[in-house]
Amino acid sequence: MTGSTIDHLVSLMVFLGAILLFIGLFNQTIQTAILYQHHRSIATKCSDLLDNMLLNPGNPLDWGKNNCPLTGFGLQDPEFMQYRLSSFSLMRLLSSSGNRVYYSQTGKWYSNVSWGIGGGYFLLQESECINYSTASKLLGINGTYGFQLTITPTVDVTIVEDKIVTDHLRLNVTVMGQGFPLAGASVDYLIFWANSTTGDFRANTTETNAVGFVLLDFDGNGLPRIEVSQNQTAYTFIARVSLGGLRGVGYLSRETVTKAGNIMPFIENYEDGTILLAHKWGKNDPGEECQGALHFNATFYVLPDNFSPIKSDVLNLTGGPWLVNYGQKKPFYAVQIPPEARNEAGFLVVTYWREDESAYEYGMVVMPWGIGTIGISVIFGDNPSGKEWVATDIRQVLVNNIAYQAKLALWSLEGYQVIG
């Protein structure tokens, strides 16, 4: 009797122990499967959401060209089909690529898409931007998913000044795809330059070599002679490369810090095209002496598909001489892109110079009007770093006929409800 009882007890304990062990083992497998399933659903959602953003123009259709409230989020160019994005809608996205910019003279914050990268500025007043929270709500994922959308040019056109040459301007242009150089690509370029004696413009075409490189010597032999030593000449160079249907664009503007400082543009009112040309002193790092009088000239160019810029004089809103002087309480000057040009993609070229008895110093900055005209990138949304699982997906898109890649990173903001 006792032996039978012990047998029962031992067998029961062994059985319970085995059951617990197997429950653990099965549970492990099931949990892993659930996690995989969950990750898979995020990846599917990521692909769907990316298409949703890129294949509808949003509501109202022309929300990228005015500052009306948005009731539907979408980035497609309303004048086209498929994966062509509106360069204007992209302009209104609140950038998460750089630190937001506060300008004390207006008391406002500005979205920082580009802060002087290659002499290019794109700073739009934040109240006119579409922020991440609004986009999430309009996409129906607020509180359930987080995302970051990155729109970057497919072709990287890098333009640098060759510092070895000192008596004239030499530009080295390197054209790379996604890890592959664009050999034999056609390079159309525009160069605007200004100095104390002339302001000029030249358009030309050349071709990259086997490693996607081209050298442009502005030495007076074939190309005009441009001398940049001691900041005596400033220029803006824009290049468009094409090969086998792939198009890319790049730029370089000679932004110099003169002894009187330099100038940067803020987009004050998106809808009516008001731009503040601000003395950068007080907003940047030059020393006390850099707050003197800066003369300037601003011209807007519409850039059509044939890459032949159309000049359009900006409207003078401030009045009086084209001058900023921080020390004399003239920190900025307001200009306006003319109405007939405002709905066209283009760029604003600002030439500034310091005058005194000894010398002139010149600088230039460029501001795109419509993402894609000079090939700047946009990053919109939250930061994915540190998230548990981030799904990504990519589409090739066109912005102003320039090849871009749209990459969406998506992650879940909800728990997995998995025990163990």
Binding site: A18, F22, Y36, R40, L61, R395
Partner: protein, 456 residues
């Protein structure tokens, strides 16, 4: 002892079950859990490369053409480095049992790995023309006559850079394929004839469309219309515009004003020959009616009485005087945009005016209620701005029946008659019947297959 043995037997069974279930429950590789959508990536890559029709052009070139090398470089440059590809071009055949034959293939790897996906893209040769047969307006609804005022005895205003005759020619080329009958009214005598209800060449008179090509002016026939249309009490030809409105309603016509303020002047070079018979800007053979003309037209269209004149301290004006708006009334009128419907039909009919226009004579929205032009029956060509309508086709509705319509484009000069054509096509929506797309030798199929390498 037996119980313990039995338990061990159970454990062995459960262990076996676990091993078997683990063997079948194979978890996917991480790449398969969160894959790149290669199919979409392939499609968008093909679309990008064909953004300017370069891919279409290359697909029809011979195998030795350098364009294939350029395409391969472009393809390698636009795909991420861990993506391998195989692009194959097929000729699309018609008839027979074989549908496709291989033309050319380019690849950057011998194999595409364990998993790949593909998208296909059909391109057409650039030297192929596809015929399109439009449905004739009026085939289903009756009417279908298009009258284009090509009156040699009328001068135009606000058609700077054009003449009424040149615009009439362009409109004929654009619109005549869509109408059953198109008639160019060569003079005001012919205009009088149709206003009297007589056809020119046996065409259907009711439900016709009448396009006024002389801008803000309107041709006025001499005789009955010049005498009955003249209001001697107020020295104005607004009465003629009123009669026009009545005729539009009576025949259920659609009146088309291509630019500016409708019916602002009346013109007849044979009738107005005096030294002061000019529009105050030096265009002779016309008389200024001012805003009274359009107000009287609306009254005539809506079957209201004629005669509500008032003195505005400067001149006699009919009804409300000046009613249109420009950027002084709403700054947004400086740049108005095509409506979504118009944008859609741009692609459908292949007419591409500038999507942004400047409105300086936008009609006020209150005319919809005052003159029975309900919003539900309006076809907007340009998006309304606040209380202003820059361009639309208005339909006059009485007891759910349309009795007369008008198209008004309150834009600044010079006119873009593509907008007029687009507006009419948006309003009538004639269908297009396209020819077969897969004609032999004219279409090629491009298949881009992508695979991922590296990692797990």
């Amino acid at each position: 002892m037996m119980r313990t043995i039995e338990v061990f037997l159970v454990i062995i069974i459960i262990t076996t079950a676990f091993i078997i279930s683990s063997f079948f429950a194979v978890l996917p590789q991480p790449r398969q859990v969160s894959p790149l959508n290669l199919r979409r990536l392939a499609l968008t890559t093909l679309e990008t490369l064909d953004g300017d029709y370069d891919l279409s052009g290359t697909a029809f070139k011979s195998s030795g053409d350098p364009a294939w090398g350029e395409l391969q470089i472009a393809l390698s440059a636009c795909l991420p480095p861990n993506i391998v590809y195989n692009l194959t071009v097929y000729e699309v055949l018609s008839g027979g049992t074989q549908l496709y034959t291989l033309i050319h293939s380019i690849s950057n790897a011998e194999s595409l790995g364990v998993s790949s996906d593909a998208s296909s893209y059909l391109v057409a040769s650039s030297n192929v023309t596809f015929s399109v047969v439009p449905e004739k307006i009026g085939e289903r609804t009756g009417g279908g006559t298009l009258y284009i005022l090509n009156c040699s005895d009328a001068n135009g205003w606000w058609i700077t850079g054009y003449t009424g005759q040149s615009l009439a020619g362009d409109l004929y080329r654009l619109l005549s394929p869509y109408f059953k009958t198109t008639i160019m009214l060569q003079n005001t005598t012919q205009l009088a004839k149709i206003l009297d209800g007589m056809s020119i060449q046996g065409e259907t008179l009711p439900n016709a469309t009448v396009i006024n090509t002389v801008g803000e002016a309107v041709p006025i026939p001499s005789g009955y219309y010049a005498t009955q249309g003249y209001d001697s009490g107020h020295t104005s030809y607004a009465k003629y515009c009123y009669i026009l409105g009545q005729k539009i309603r009576g025949f259920n016509w659609t009146w088309v004003s291509i630019v500016g303020y409708p019916l602002y002047y009346v013109s007849n070079t044979g009738l107005f020959t005096g030294p002061n018979d000019q529009n105050t800007y030096g265009i002779y053979g016309m008389k200024c009616v001012g805003p009274s003309g359009f107000n009287a037209f609306l009254d005539g269209l809506d079957n209201k009485g004629y005669g509500d004149w008032r003195w505005n301290g400067y001149e006699w004006v009919y009804d409300s005087g000046w009613i249109t708006g420009d950027k002084e009334d709403d700054p947004r009128l400086a740049s108005v945009s095509l409506s979504p419907e118009a944008i859609y039909y741009c692609n459908y009919y292949g007419i591409y005016p500038s999507p942004y226009q400047m409105a300086t004579r936008a009609l006020p929205s209150w005319i919809r209620d005052t003159y029975h032009l309900p919003d539900t029956h309006i076809t907007y060509i340009l998006n309304p701005v606040g209380n202003w309508i820059p361009g639309a086709v208005f339909r006059h509705v009485v007891s759910n029946r349309i009795e007369g319509s008008f198209l008004a484009l309150g834009l600044t000069r010079s006119p873009d008659i593509r907008l007029t054509a687009l507006g009419l096509l948006c309003a009538y929506k004639p269908r297009l019947y396209r020819s077969e797309y897969t004609a032999s030798g004219t279409s090629r199929l491009i298949v881009l297959q992508l695979g991922q390498v590296g990692g797990v």
